[in-house]
């Protein structure tokens, strides 16, 4: 299974390249992105950093450790990512808690194996908190990204079909949507995870099942409107096939919706995972799990804050940057505000 994450990286990079090429050819999108860059340069750079960390944490291979240390030998037989190789978590650890940049342990004052090197201190098992927080990046992006990758195609296909063809198709899609929408999101999510079991794929599928309805409804509504638009009617009269009308005339006009929904959904999903972690059905190694583990540490005296801080700050920064970009994107892409701005 070593090849799977690497293949995903390749696929993602390829996808990004294709997207880049398509966008380059389109004046509207190049301009929009340029405006976004002007308004949210800082946020975009930070999001880029998160992406880079996640990529580095995904590219992995087996072997490569020359250490004689038995723990390292065990580790060397498992695929390790670039981040793992940088931190060497199996030897870069202490016995228990230590403060950021400390030279001695938090309890008992015994000297550390790696004094002054733990930027965010170490946790109860002596693991580097900075390393653990960085590992959370991949999981957060996985939750947000994978789920959205599940949601968007499903929602797009069903929404388009329902809106464009109407009739029976619309009835069925609408029925499924209203059924799912009438169950509170969190409850449905919990029920799904309890029955499907915990694990990255299961959690993302559960989040996807609960998440696609809103976007599907939006797509359906927009498609209904676009179907009646003059240029679609004209294309129809000229004898264009359904497929052509959908891909050439409808999807491009839905693109801005997709982008905005993606951004908004993303933050919602990442935050929702903390609640799941509290309920004990989150993902292993996620920020939610770190927060859940660390919440009781606040009552220790002296307070152990770095564990909570590491996860919270990284989570907060990511969500804030994505929120800011989503906000700007909405201003830039939304036709109503676009008109107003001009």
């Amino acid at each position: 299974m070593v090849w799977l994450p690497n293949m995903i990286v390749v696929a993602l990079l390829a996808g990004a390249f294709i997207l880049f090429r398509t966008v380059r050819r389109n004046r509207f999108w190049t301009e929009s992105i340029a405006r976004l860059w002007r308004r949210r340069r800082f946020s975009l750079i930070i999001i880029g950093l998160y992406l880079a960390v996640a990529l580095l944490d995904t590219i992995s291979w087996v072997g490569g450790s020359a250490s004689e240390n038995a723990s390292d030998v065990v580790a060397a037989h498992k695929p390790r990512s670039v981040i793992d190789r940088i931190f060497q978590p199996d030897s870069f650890m202490e016995i228990s808690y230590s403060e950021p940049f400390a030279d001695v342990g938090f309890y008992g004052e015994q000297p550390l194996a790696h004094p002054g090197k733990h930027i965010l201190g170490t946790d109860i098992l002596g693991q580097d908190v900075f390393y653990r927080s960085l590992k959370g990046v991949k999981i957060a992006l996985l939750i947000g990204g994978l789920t959205t990758l599940i949601v968007i195609p499903i929602a797009l296909i069903f929404g388009l079909a329902a809106g464009y063809f109407g009739g029976r198709v619309d009835d069925v899609v609408f029925f499924v949507m209203s059924t799912l929408a009438s169950i509170p999101n969190l409850l449905l999510l919990i029920a799904l995870i309890i029955v499907l079991g915990t694990g990255p794929v299961q959690v993302c599928v559960a989040l996807g099942v609960t998440g696609w309805v809103g976007f599907c409804r939006l797509t359906r509504g927009e498609t209904l409107k676009l179907r009646e638009a003059d240029y679609v009617q004209a294309a129809k009269a000229l004898g264009a096939s359904h497929l052509r009308i959908i891909t050439r005339h409808i999807i491009p006009n839905l693109a801005h919706l997709i982008v905005i929904t993606f951004a908004l959904q993303f933050t919602g999903l990442v935050l929702a995972e903390t609640v799941l972690a509290y309920l004990g059905i989150g993902l292993d190694g996620s920020w939610g799990q770190m927060i859940d583990q660390a919440r009781n540490e606040l009552s220790r005296s002296p307070v152990i804050w770095w564990n909570l801080a590491g996860a919270t700050v990284l989570l907060f920064t990511l969500v804030l940057c994505v929120n800011l970009c989503a906000d700007a994107l909405r201003d830039i892409l939304d036709p109503r505000t676009r008109k107003e701005a001009q």
Partner: protein, 328 residues
């Protein structure tokens, strides 16, 4: 008009059936009754005890088709889990909890009041606070107030709700000693003490998202023609804001908010658990931890049912108020 209502009701009923089908697939087809029985009574019981338990809790029948009955007998389809599931849920005969045999209906009755006493004030207060600040921001839009509140909202929105609860309990409950850290009481004079802290934290936690949402609605409303007309007539800014904008914007706000009301019954999983409020949310968390499937599926069903009813009522009152809707 009558035909519309009938159609709407029929559609609501079909949706309920759909929800039940989903629950059936999740809780009967995927989850194994033998596992549930073992979980409930332990590992070391005799086979008869397991069988008896499954009979008592209605897990003893075949899923969809009962082969013991002939093809033409109705029992072939009625003497099954699927039929039993629909029958019990539709007649509100929820049976007993898988975990401790308590009648689920009784548990719902006990949990509804604590849940409502937390969520209703929380809901009303956050609505008032949200609308108030949104109005303020819309009124002072493009000034320092607008900018400051928007930045605050954006920051507030990016913090996980868990953090609010942890920090609030620590700060207000433990350090300042304003309220009990957690707990509940049935006595109304005492209960306000327990509810104050979760309500304050809840209002703060929902502040960011609410204000931003309502602000958009208000600003959209201020851009409409009648507002310009009113201004042109010489109405003061504040007067326009309250008399016209607030009144008109409240309709979309309220309709979006009304649909959230049924979810109030379910309470808040996080708040109830952290603050020891014995509501339906806490019951749900307990059902999750104890793998109490019968309670969990009843909770899901009840909340979906309430939502569907609320939706129908909103739709019908809409139609009564605005005849144009009926045509579409």
């Amino acid at each position: 008009m009558f035909a519309y209502i009938v159609r709407r009701l029929a559609y609501g009923a079909v949706t309920v059936l759909g929800v039940l089908l989903l629950l059936f697939v999740l809780f009967f087809a995927i989850a194994d009754p033998d596992d549930i029985a073992r979980q409930a009574i332990g590992e070391r019981a005799s086979a008869e005890v397991y069988e008896q338990w499954k009979v008592n809790h209605g897990y003893d029948k075949p899923l969809v088709i009962n082969a013991e009955h002939g093809v033409l007998e109705p029992g072939r389809y009625t003497d099954t889990l699927l039929f039993e599931h629909y029958r019990s849920m539709l007649t509100f005969d929820f049976g007993r909890s898988d975990a401790d045999d308590v009648p689920i209906a009784e548990r719902l009755r006990q949990g509804a009041l604590p849940s409502l006493s937390l969520t209703l004030p929380l809901f009303a207060l956050s609505l008032v606070v949200g609308v108030f600040f949104a109005l303020l921001v819309a009124f002072f839009r493009d000034t320092y107030v607008d900018f400051a509140v928007l930045v605050m909202c954006m920051l507030a929105m990016s913090v996980a709700s868990l953090i609010y609860i942890i920090a609030g309990q620590y700060l207000i409950g433990l350090t300042l000693k304003w309220f009990p850290i957690s707990g509940f009481d049935a006595d109304p004079a005492l209960v306000i003490r327990f509810l104050a802290l979760p309500i304050i934290i809840g209002v703060i936690a929902s502040f960011g998202g609410d204000v931003r949402l309502y602000r958009t609605v208000f600003i959209e409303e201020t851009n409409k023609d009648y507002v310009r007309t009113a201004r042109a007539k010489g109405c003061g800014d504040a007067r326009v804001m309250v008399r016209h904008v607030l009144r008109n914007a409240l309709i979309p706000i309220l309709t979006s908010v009304v649909l959230a009301i049924p979810f109030l019954f379910v309470g808040s999983l996080l708040f109830e658990n952290f603050f020891g409020i014995p509501g339906l949310g806490a019951i749900t968390v307990e059902a999750i931890n104890g793998n109490d499937f019968s309670t969990l599926r009843t909770m899901v069903y009840i909340s979906a049912l309430l939502f569907i009813v609320a939706q129908i009522l909103t739709d019908i009152s809409y139609t009564l108020a605005d005849p144009r809707v009926r045509l579409s």
